[in-house]
Symmetry: C2
Subunit: 203 residues, 2 copies
């Protein structure tokens, strides 16, 4: 028993705390969880927000398809089970970055309400902000930069959100962005305004 206690003491002496990391960074962490249909503008707006934050000295990181689907989650497909595990892992990584006092943005369709709520449960109270990027299916389909909707309509992609798989919109998103009628910079600034108004950033 004595040895075990001694080990724990050593551990705690060394362990850099969450508060110490926040002090070094100059701000606390948060997760900006963008959700919405393919083509709604999630990644573009998330990266624009990330740019605005970085340029004012905030420590940030973006988790998106580019660095997650090719890496951590490359062994996952698009079945409902794999989508759930995909979001779970992203949530856990976002939690680590927020624990490291980053404002981390994530940009994934994340179509299932239950999966997003599970991530919210992981993150300390008040540090998870769900951001719905609203755009009509017509808008998204007309953009279709990667031709995915075309393939889904042709039946070449199965289980495509909005076509033959559901999108469950959040019921109480912290921020709702109207991507049908507003541009990237305006929407990114709406997010920044929210962060300032709610104490995540100094105005």
């Amino acid at each position: 028993m004595t040895e075990q206690k001694a080990t724990n003491v050593t551990w705690h002496e060394h362990n850099v705390t969450r508060d110490e990391r926040a002090k070094l960074k100059g701000h606390k962490g948060a997760v900006l969880w963008f959700t919405g249909l393919s083509g709604c503008g999630k990644s573009t707006i998330a990266n624009a927000v990330d740019r605005l934050l970085h340029d004012r000295g905030v420590h940030t990181y973006v988790l998106d398809g580019d660095n997650i689907r090719m890496g951590l989650n490359k062994n996952l497909g698009f079945s409902p089970e794999d989508r759930t595990e995909n979001i779970r892992r992203i949530g856990e990584v976002a939690k680590l970055f927020a624990d490291g006092a980053h404002i981390v943005t994530t940009a994934f369709i994340s179509p299932y309400r239950e999966d997003r709520d599970a991530v919210r449960e992981l993150i300390p109270d008040g540090e998870f902000l769900e951001i719905l990027v609203e755009a009509s299916l017509e808008t998204c389909e007309s953009r279709d930069p990667k031709g995915l909707y075309k393939k889904a309509r042709a039946g070449e992609i199965k289980g495509f959100t909005g076509i033959d798989a559901p999108y469950e919109a959040p019921e109480s998103a912290e921020i709702i962005l109207d991507s049908d009628s507003k541009g990237v910079e305006e929407l990114a600034n709406e997010v920044i305004d929210y962060l300032e108004a709610n104490g995540f950033l100094k105005a």
Copy 2:
């Protein structure tokens, strides 16, 4: 085609680069990958290194059993396949933190050479430092703070590294720490000395 190109341009305008993140942090990222038997001192030394780095203003993060096994990897057990996937995921997360210009330390037994080499392949050249914490089985078993060796010897834990599962020591670790005969602070400072001598830190 025109629209697709335009989308890419927008993306790249917003994207905060690796170099920009390193500039904000004041240093580049690196992965300090501690490996060794249970009880060799990996976590304690890793946290001591993390403390020394943090106290000189380096942006750090520790990945260890406390924040990985209970979170990201809670759906993995200790079979060879699960151990491999465990290390793969940790490697991918370490890569993201290094990409975010952190000096990230990881403290996992990571007994298989092939698994550690796979992580090395993930990380940009020169940013992966394998740190072998050498301690004899006798030393580790005599410490046994959590009573795991006792359970493994009694057959209550199967596949325990060093007892009935192999530990494959690195053949070309960047740093080798002698945990049989040296204390935590001395070993932590050996790591700091290496980082200074090799340009990861300003001396």
